[in-house]
């Protein structure tokens, strides 16, 4: 591998000023993510997972430390349209059909019309939604909406995909199914993926690297490199190797958790 | 042709028949004038319209004209088609009012919006306070209709001989059931509809000439209307865009208005002017300072002199 890191954070700090005083959302975060990795962020509510993803996406600006994306500042990276971002809720615009939702970033980035059509077709196929382009979001189930929102983030050429609890609102079975599909997609496209989740099995199942975080102040408490093979059937979740990693994650989590918040 | 805009004090009705007849019969055309008549209404003060430049000449009552003059709108009377006033106070006989001595303790309907000066002058003359109570009168701001009398909300209301009085009769109350006080007879009559322009415009000879022709044609219209009341009423109806008037009522109104204009050739009688001013000055009160000092140069006879030659 030619390892110039895609993301490199050094002593990253982010403090929000609020009415109740400062909130240390991130404190001294160091992390490197290499090209083609699938990195999950897991940790209790409020530990700064979302904040970290938002810093990468230049939606928040750190109050200390440095971070580079593809060797640039996050703002430059955003201007270069270096990444796609998938939010927890599908966040499709209800007044646009699925196809037009996927077209939205392309319109903004000024792709030519024919190219847009081609790409929409392509990503719809990629997420198994052929033939649903003309439907409106509310005509689709939650799982399908979420796939559409992933398609939207895939439609333009970004090598980095940031996903903030994309499957949080779905039921376990649908979630399993989408997890399988996401892995397949990742294998096919060789993108780098940053993925926030609350679910330990999900994190273990998907990732090449698991980042465990802990709150107040938000920091990284453990980084676990997965020993699982790249090829992962769903049944892998019943293997001792899988359970061992899950166990380590759970321990890491429990250490950093305050129950009464 | 020269443009002239006339702002009326009230809606299109036979009260202004002379102007509509002059327009309709081509009297203005004969004088090479292109006249626009703007109807008025309860929210239109012709005095402010003319001061804002929205009209060249207006009709208004002399009391309101003089009051405006004192407030900084230099109006000047150029003609006085109404010799007599038509303002009256009408009471239901069953209310028990027979003479002004019966007023204390009563409720009287009065028109405001610049029409209240004669009433306050009268009360001042009678020495009756207007703040209500047993020895004063309770004053209502009467809407421009006769409902308060019909519904017995007031003992007496303001009417014009040519309009509301007829409505009361029309509603089915006979003249015998009414007691009517005419302001003229009570000695507080004031000049009603006259033509007024801004003093400084009149300095302009061209404008002066225009007004001479306007007054001449208007008076011709008035005299025609007096002689042909039914035709005049029809002309008024034709000019009423609201479509709310009835020919019958306008015929009645024309008949009554003719009685008021009959004595005038258009020229203001300075004696009438003096009387109006004297009445106003006799009734100065903090509530109603129509005018506080004797006006000067508030009328000119030059226009009518020139017009009537």
């Amino acid at each position: 591998m030619t390892t110039e890191p895609v993301i490199k954070a050094d002593g990253l700090d982010l403090t929000f000023q609020t009415n109740d005083g400062p909130v240390h959302a991130l404190k001294g975060v160091d992390l490197e993510i290499n090209k083609g990795e699938f990195v999950s962020f897991i940790g209790p509510s409020g530990c700064g997972k979302t904040t970290f993803l938002r810093v990468i996406a230049a939606l928040e600006h750190p109050t200390g430390g440095t971070i580079t994306v593809n060797g640039m500042s996050p703002d430059e990276a955003r201007r270069n349209r270096a990444y796609g971002y998938v939010f927890q809720a599908a966040g499709l615009y209800p007044w646009r059909s699925i196809a037009r939702n996927i077209k939205l970033p392309l319109e903004i980035m000024g792709y030519p019309r024919a190219e847009m059509e081609k790409r929409v077709e392509e990503v719809l196929r990629l997420v198994d939604l052929e033939g649903f382009g003309k439907k409106f979001p509310w005509q689709l189930s939650g799982g399908m909406q979420q796939r559409a929102s992933i398609a939207r983030a895939l439609a333009f050429d970004a090598d980095l995909l940031l996903m903030d609890e994309p499957f949080g609102a779905l039921d376990e079975i649908v979630r399993d199914h989408l997890n399988e599909q996401l892995l397949a997609l990742w294998a096919r496209t060789e993108k780098t993926i940053g993925f926030v989740t609350h679910s330990i099995p999900e994190a273990v199942y998907l990732s090449t690297k698991i980042v465990v975080m802990s709150p107040r102040p938000g920091r990284i408490t453990d980084v676990i490199d997965s020993t699982l093979p790249r090829e992962r059937p769903l049944e892998i979740r019943d293997t001792p190797e899988f359970l061992a990693i899950a166990h380590r994650v759970r321990e890491g989590l429990r250490a950093g958790h305050a129950y009464d918040e | 042709a020269d443009d002239v805009t006339l702002q009326l004090k009230w809606v299109t009705q036979a009260q202004f028949a002379g102007y509509y007849v002059a327009l309709d019969k081509g009297f203005y055309d004969e004088e090479d004038l292109n006249v626009t008549i703007k109807p008025g209404g309860p929210d239109i003060a012709p005095e402010s319209v003319i001061s804002g430049g929205g009209a060249d000449v207006i009709t208004t009552w002399m009391a309101a004209g003089l009051a405006a003059r004192e407030r900084g709108v230099p109006l000047i009377n150029i003609a006085q088609p109404f010799k007599q006033g038509g303002l009256q106070l009408t009471c239901l006989k069953e209310s028990g009012v027979e003479s002004p001595a019966d007023f204390p303790g009563r409720t009287l309907g009065v028109w405001f919006f610049g029409n209240e000066y004669p009433f306050y002058a009268w009360m001042a003359k009678l020495g009756i306070p207007t703040e209500g109570g047993d020895d004063g009168v309770t004053v209502l701001k009467q809407g421009f209709n006769v409902d308060p009398l019909l519904q017995k909300q007031a003992d007496c209301i303001s009417v014009m001989t040519y309009n509301e009085y007829g409505q009361v009769l029309d509603a089915g109350i006979s003249a015998d059931d009414l007691v009517t006080f005419n302001y003229l007879d009570e000695g507080v009559g004031m000049l009603e509809d006259g033509l007024y322009v801004l003093e400084e415009s009149l300095q302009d000879p061209a404008f002066f000439d225009k007004m001479v022709r306007f007054v001449r044609a208007s008076m011709k219209g008035w005299k025609y209307a007096e002689e042909n009341p039914d035709e005049a009423a029809q002309i008024v109806i034709d000019n009423d865009e609201s479509g709310a008037q009835t020919l019958e009522h306008q015929q009645y109104m024309m008949g009554e208005v003719a009685k008021l204009t009959a004595g005038s050739n258009g020229a203001l009688d300075p004696a009438d002017y003096e009387q109006t001013v004297a009445t106003l000055l006799s009734a100065i009160s903090p509530d109603n300072p129509a005018i506080t000092t004797e006006p000067e140069g508030a009328y000119t006879l030059d226009v009518t002199d020139a017009a009537l030659q």
Binding site: - | G52, F112, G143, P148
Partner: protein
Amino acid sequence: MTLVILSLAFWLAAYLFNNWLAKSRWSGSRAVRLAVPAIFGVTVIVVWEGLVRGLNVPMVILPAPSAIATRFAASLDLLWIDFVQTVVKGALTGYLIGTGAAFVTAVLIDRSLFLKRGLLPVGNFIAALPIVGTAPILVMWFGFDWQSKAAVVVAMVFFPMLVNTVQGLADTGKMQRDLMATWSASYWQTLFKLRLPAAMPAVFNGLKIATTLALIGAIVAEFFGSPIKGMGFRISTAVGTLGLDMVWAEITVAALAGSAFYGAVAMVERAVTFWHPSQRN
């Protein structure tokens, strides 16, 4: 001309200053939140004064703010009498009766879907009857004094309040209602413990809309007949006698009273619906 230019310059300066304030570090502070609209108001007044003087606008067209202020100060007693007549007697009485009646009606018809379906559209239709037409009729029915003004106000505020309250009473989550059912709560228990509290935001919305309607209604109704006091009486009379400074003094009173009335209701709203997300910023 210089005055005109000066006032325009003032406007520009105030605009830039406000922009700077709003973007500045203190933009969230209470002081700035009060200062910005205040500066805007002062600017309007300064420009108005400058234009009226600079362009020599006649007093009978538009008086200068200074003239209005002078008249205001000189006529405090008269303004107070008018205020009591129109706002306290006319507007406030009508407001209380109208909103109160609408509230009770809403609770009563709320039990019947049939009545709601029928009454609300008809109510909207009746609410569309323009006040300039209804006011003379109500003056004819209820006399010249404040009672007819209150009646006009009742007619104006009743339906907006009714619609809002009915909407509010329906504004409960299915889960919240189901909870009541699991406790097998009675109709009245559900009404008092769930639906009325839940309706409060909408009720106050209605109450706020009704404040401005009440004031306008009471004033406008006086145009169609009144005793010789009251803000509407004074305004219409003063327009006719070219006392434009008095007209504007009354308008000032109306705006002050209206804003204060609105503000007071909004304050009660804050206290009552403290729990609603819109009140928590």
